[in-house]
């Protein structure tokens, strides 16, 4: 057995804390903290998905929130029609059906936007992914059927076998397990042959092409995997908030996701989860102290990024790593 690194310990302790604390809060009647933890864990999944392409693939996507929106609207729209009629083809409370819809729409959206965006690099890639994200944002804003800007209330949560999403604890457990699986999945992918090619192309694309890898398609595959994972986070988020609006897809949301990944530490297993946790907790704590919480929030984030190399996970790096 390999000796565990500091980062490995930190990951284990962090995940154990997320497993133990929320049930404890629920038992002691502090339901609010369970809500907080659920949000943090779901956004953690989104950040983990973004880390696959941003951290390991070097693709700085500024439109990832679109996938959250697509996943959430897959729940919202099907549920809406099941309640109010119309669009019989997809009207349903069936969670599995909604999930399949959320994931396949995310996959198609990722395939199309990725195929175009990945023709560019660097800041152009960033701009074009952001443009696609905003397109999705404006599309849903213009859909009056679903209240456009005002958003949509989900009256009935997804109905899943064995799991009742109306129970905060069960929703939390599902989200937590999903996060753990997502982290494991990304770790597995990164260490696979595919992951080696992806990381090689991030570091030195010319070399990889010279070796015979068509790096474009490897990147595209990673982009689609990441998009589908993020769509799944959207599916959970829709069920958690039971209110969805185009605002979920706004570019500032994509920026927040990006910030979580960078804050926690790109190209690390726990980084994105740590980033989303600190981000949400800071937001919560500061906004309870002052109305003008954005200012200290911004300062703290800047200090971390400037002085801790490799994000917060950089703190757990051993010597010579």
């Amino acid at each position: 057995m390999r000796k565990m690194t500091k980062a490995g310990w930190a990951t284990m302790i962090g995940m154990i804390a997320l497993a133990i604390l929320p049930p404890y809060f629920l038992l002691t009647g502090q339901a609010f903290y369970v809500d907080l933890a659920t949000r943090l864990v779901i956004l953690g999944i989104a950040a983990v998905s973004l880390n696959l392409i941003l951290g390991y693939g070097g693709m700085v996507s500024f439109g990832h929130a679109a996938f959250i929106g697509l996943g959430a609207y897959a729940v919202g729209i099907t549920s809406y029609h099941a309640t109010w009629g119309g669009f019989d083809l997809i009207a349903s409370y069936n969670g599995l059906l909604q999930l399949i819809l959320a994931l396949s729409i995310s996959a198609i959206y990722a395939l199309v936007t990725g195929a175009i965006s990945l023709r560019t690099k660097g800041v152009y890639f960033l701009m074009i992914t952001m443009a696609f994200g905003q397109m999705a944002f404006f599309l849903f804003q213009s859909l009056d059927v679903y209240n456009g800007d005002d958003g949509l209330t989900i009256d009935v949560r997804s109905e899943l076998p064995f799991i009742n999403l109306d129970s905060p604890m069960q929703l939390y457990i599902l989200s937590y397990v999903s996060l753990a699986v997502a982290m494991l999945l990304v770790k597995t992918i990164v260490n696979s042959r595919f992951g080696m090619v992806l990381q090689g192309a991030k570091d030195n694309n010319e070399r990889m092409v010279t070796l015979g890898y068509n790096t474009y398609f490897y990147r595209l595959a990673a982009y689609v995997i990441s998009g589908v994972m993020c769509g799944y986070a959207g599916f959970l988020l829709g069920n958690f908030t039971t209110f969805i609006s185009p605002d979920m897809m706004h570019w500032t949301r994509s920026g927040e996701l990006m910030f979580m990944v960078i804050l926690g530490g790109t190209s690390t297993a726990l980084g994105p989860t740590l980033g989303s946790s600190i981000f949400i907790l800071l937001e919560e704590i500061l906004s309870s102290i002052t109305l003008y919480w954005h200012l200290p929030f911004g300062v703290i984030l800047i200090v971390v990024v400037m002085f801790v190399r490799g994000g917060l996970m950089g703190l757990f790096k051993g010597k010579g790593e």
């Binding site: 597995t188 992918i189 260490n191 696979s192 042959r193 595919f194 992951g195 080696m196 090619v197 990381q199 090689g200 991030k202 570091d203 030195n204 010319e206 070399r207 990889m208 092409v209 010279t210 070796l211 015979g212 890898y213 068509n214 790096t215 490897y218 595959a221």
Partner: protein
């Protein structure tokens, strides 16, 4: 005998500068064919067009008789052309062994394999290690690539070219920046390789070139002014005038 690589009428210009001017070149299977020429003669530009990194303006490139002029670099690699870089080009964030393993992996079917840890695939790791041993980097296998010296990076370039098992190796100044001892080792090493691989060698080190090459082509201002056996080149007046005479 048909040449392994046949270049006909290759042209490439950047703005007003003609970097490759109607180049014809045959590389015969198994030979070490050196291209020499003064700085700025267009040697690297020529290699880049052969590897697919640059697209020629005109002309054709044939590999084993089939036209690869419009094939992108990754396809040419699959067809058996590999190159080393004049300016070291490695995946710095990975270990030495990882770098070579990526070259082995490229010839081991597609890499859309997501589950099995790449570093635990024995036949890939073993083969990568074999090639590292060949160039004398066994002890450095698990070190970070960025921690190696320039000379070791040059050795890695060779190990990667070997590991890719390409029929045709385009080596762009493999001795660049090496000390005399390291150069001598590399020359000895390439000599051993003679006959097993076909090598198109760009090199400034004349001792190395005349020690290794079966044939030499001289490139001046984008044009090949002479091709021949080393002795012919040595005694060729135009070459002496354009290049060797300067020394």
């Amino acid at each position: 005998m048909a040449p392994l690589l046949k270049v006909k009428g290759l042209m490439k210009s950047f703005g007003g500068v003609t970097a490759t001017d109607n180049v014809d070149l045959d590389v015969i299977k198994g030979e070490i064919h050196a291209i020499i020429g003064p700085n700025g003669a267009g040697k690297t530009t020529l290699i880049s067009q052969l590897s697919g990194a640059l697209k020629p303006d005109a002309g054709t490139v044939l590999l084993n008789g089939s036209d690869i002029t419009n094939k992108p670099a990754y396809k040419r690699a699959k067809l058996g052309i590999t190159r080393s870089f004049q300016i070291t080009s490695l995946v710095m964030g990975m270990s030495v062994l990882d770098n070579v393993a990526l070259a082995v992996q490229a010839n081991d079917g597609h890499s859309y394999r997501f589950l099995k840890p790449a570093r635990k695939i024995a036949h890939i790791r073993d083969k990568a290690m074999e090639n590292l041993i060949k160039v004398g980097l066994r002890k450095r296998a698990n070190d970070a690539t960025s921690a190696l010296s320039h000379g070791e990076h040059r050795q890695m370039e060779i190990a990667i070219a070997l590991a890719s098992e390409a029929e045709l190796m385009l080596l762009d100044e493999p001795m660049a920046g090496l000390g005399p001892e390291e150069s001598a080792l590399l020359v000895a090493f390439l000599k051993e390789l003679k006959g097993q691989r076909t090598i198109l060698l760009i090199e400034h080190d004349m001792d190395a070139v005349f020690a290794l090459a079966d044939r030499i082509s001289v490139l001046v201002y984008g044009q090949i002014i002479a091709t021949g056996l080393p002795d012919e080149i040595r005694s060729n007046d135009a070459v002496r005038h354009a290049y060797l005479g300067e020394e």
